[in-house]
């Protein structure tokens, strides 16, 4: 019977010491341990979540990077095409302008040549006239030395005047 009869002394010590230890363990051991575990779990949870988020963002970033690259490529292609077009138009324009300009210059040159020619012709006419006059003068000086001749000339001119 001794085995199944609770002993007073042990009951007393057990209730006393176990209550104290329950309190002390709760206050100084379980509370910090459980809160630390909880905190760590939250921390891990958070870390995992943020890693997931980072991953997502990364993939998003990658996608947007690709998009940007694609866009840039397209832009480049477009620019190249445009540049080519611009080049062609510039060349064409230049050509046209050059033609127009050239034509203008040729025109101007032609006109200048015409003018020069005209003035040159005038000059030649004048010089021929002067020469003729000089020659005529000389011939006259020689021919008009005699009165017969003088008469003759005078007649001729007079006739001419009449004709006019």
């Amino acid at each position: 019977m001794g085995l199944v009869t609770p002993d007073f002394g042990l009951l007393f010590w057990m209730i006393l010491s176990f209550s104290i230890v329950l309190f002390l363990l709760k206050k100084f051991a379980w509370k910090p341990i459980l809160s630390a575990l909880k905190e760590r779990e939250d921390f891990i949870e958070q870390a995992l979540q943020s890693a997931e988020k980072a991953k997502e963002e990364m993939s998003k970033l990658q996608a947007s990077n690709e998009k940007i690259i694609k866009e840039a490529r397209n832009e480049r292609d477009r620019l190249l095409v445009e540049a080519r077009e611009v080049k062609a138009t510039i060349i064409n324009d230049a050509k046209e302008q050059a033609t127009v300009e050239g034509n203008k210059m040729i025109e101007a040159a032609k006109r200048a040549i015409e003018n020069e020619k005209a003035s040159a012709l005038n000059e030649i006419k004048n010089s021929i006239a002067n020469l003729s006059i000089e020659i005529a003068e000389k011939i006259l000086k020689e021919n008009l030395s005699s009165s017969v001749n003088q008469q003759k000339v005078m007649d001729t001119y007079l006739n001419e005047v009449k004709l006019n």
């Binding site: 085995l3 176990f18 230890v21 575990l37």
Partner: protein, 368 residues
């Protein structure tokens, strides 16, 4: 070189062991050897029943070993309050292993309810009623040591948690963390639907108290070997704590269901309140069963292991060689039992914590 070191180590251990023995031996009385020598001649026949009961029971001294009828034991303080003579405080070595009277007190050797307890007798031989006995017995010392151990262990682990904030656990911390998490998640949170956090500290405390004391009980030498969790007073206090926590936290529907259990035909409640009676008995039976289960399991394990050891001496009394022969078998069985007891140590701690959690859960369950 290595051999030298080993011999040095061995020498050191044996010196330490010798010092230990001398130190402890000093506690006990020197004369006892001569006194016991007289008794030794009339050798009592080995009684396995007494041997086993003495080992699983409580004691005023902590027996370490016996060498040539010389008992070496750690004397423990005896604290008594007698209604006639007031307080008494002395070491149990005054009793000389129960052979001597001290003052008006002696340890009862007669078979009966007071066997092994301290009784007070007058000089004419009349026995007075038992004094209030709050001695630090073997189990009490073991209890205090184990509580100090638990405090030290878990406070140092708590400090490790503070130091290693948000980092992986290390050492002792990582050894016990799975158990702590197991109790938190699979016992407390699985069984208690509302405010499970409130009960976790208690569940952790009883689990580790029972688990470590079960294990200490398996260590055959001091400071282990006390059959603490196989002591009915200890399991009773644990069960009472569970009962009090259950009752204090129980909600209205729990109490209502005791009287008026739902889904039960009316004639079981009126005019003869059979179901309420059963339910009300149930609230006491639950902790009572907790108390008995732990006590019986641990005590039974100790009894079986000691029974196998007793076989050696029973056969040894018949014939020395039979004793040696059976010892091989006995030790094999005892090793097996000890391994089994490791399992039982865990299972019983688990069952106690789990059932406590289930009772808390039932008491705080919302009515449907």
């Amino acid at each position: 070189m290595k051999i030298m070191q080993q011999t040095n180590k061995r020498l050191l251990t044996s010196i330490l062991a010798a010092l230990f023995v001398i130190f402890l031996g000093n506690f006990t009385y020197a004369q006892e050897a001569t006194e016991h020598a007289e008794q030794a001649h009339e050798k009592e026949p080995f009684n396995p029943g007494t041997y086993i009961i003495e080992h699983i029971g409580d004691s005023y001294e902590w027996h370490i070993f016996t060498y040539h009828d010389h008992h070496v034991s750690l004397p423990l303080p005896v604290i008594l309050y007698s209604e006639h003579t007031g307080f008494h405080f002395f070491m149990s070595s005054k009793f000389e292993h129960g052979h001597k009277k001290y003052n008006r007190f002696h340890i009862d050797h007669r078979a009966g309810a007071t066997k092994g307890k301290i009784l007070e007798t007058l000089s004419d031989g009349t026995t007075l009623e038992r004094p209030w006995d709050v001695s630090i017995t073997k189990n009490t010392l073991s209890l205090l040591l184990s509580l100090i151990f638990l405090l030290w262990l878990f406070i140092s682990i708590a400090n490790a948690y503070k130091r290693n904030k948000d980092k992986a656990p290390k050492g002792m911390q990582s050894l016990l963390e799975p158990l702590i998490l197991f109790i938190r998640d699979d016992i407390a949170k699985a069984s208690i639907a509302h405010h499970a956090e409130k009960y976790i500290p208690y569940l952790l405390s009883i689990f580790f108290f029972i688990f470590f004391n079960n294990l200490f009980g398996l260590i055959p030498i001091i400071p282990g070997g006390a059959n603490l969790t196989g002591n009915i007073a200890v399991t009773m206090v644990l069960a009472i704590f569970t009962f009090i926590i259950t009752s204090v936290n129980a909600n209205k529907s729990y109490w209502k269901h005791l009287i008026d259990a739902p889904g039960v035909p009316w004639w079981l409640k009126f005019p003869l309140p059979l179901m309420p009676l059963v339910e009300i008995m149930g609230i006491f039976i639950k902790p009572f069963v907790l108390m008995i289960r732990l006590f019986a399991n641990i005590t039974a394990g100790h009894i079986i292991a000691l029974g196998f050891f007793s076989l050696i001496f029973i056969f040894g009394n018949l014939n020395m060689y039979a004793g040696y022969g059976i010892s091989i078998l006995s030790i094999a069985f005892t090793v097996f039992m000890t391994v089994l007891e490791f399992l039982v140590a865990f299972i019983q701690a688990y069952v106690f914590a789990l059932l406590s959690a289930l009772y808390f859960g039932m008491a705080t369950e919302e009515s449907h």
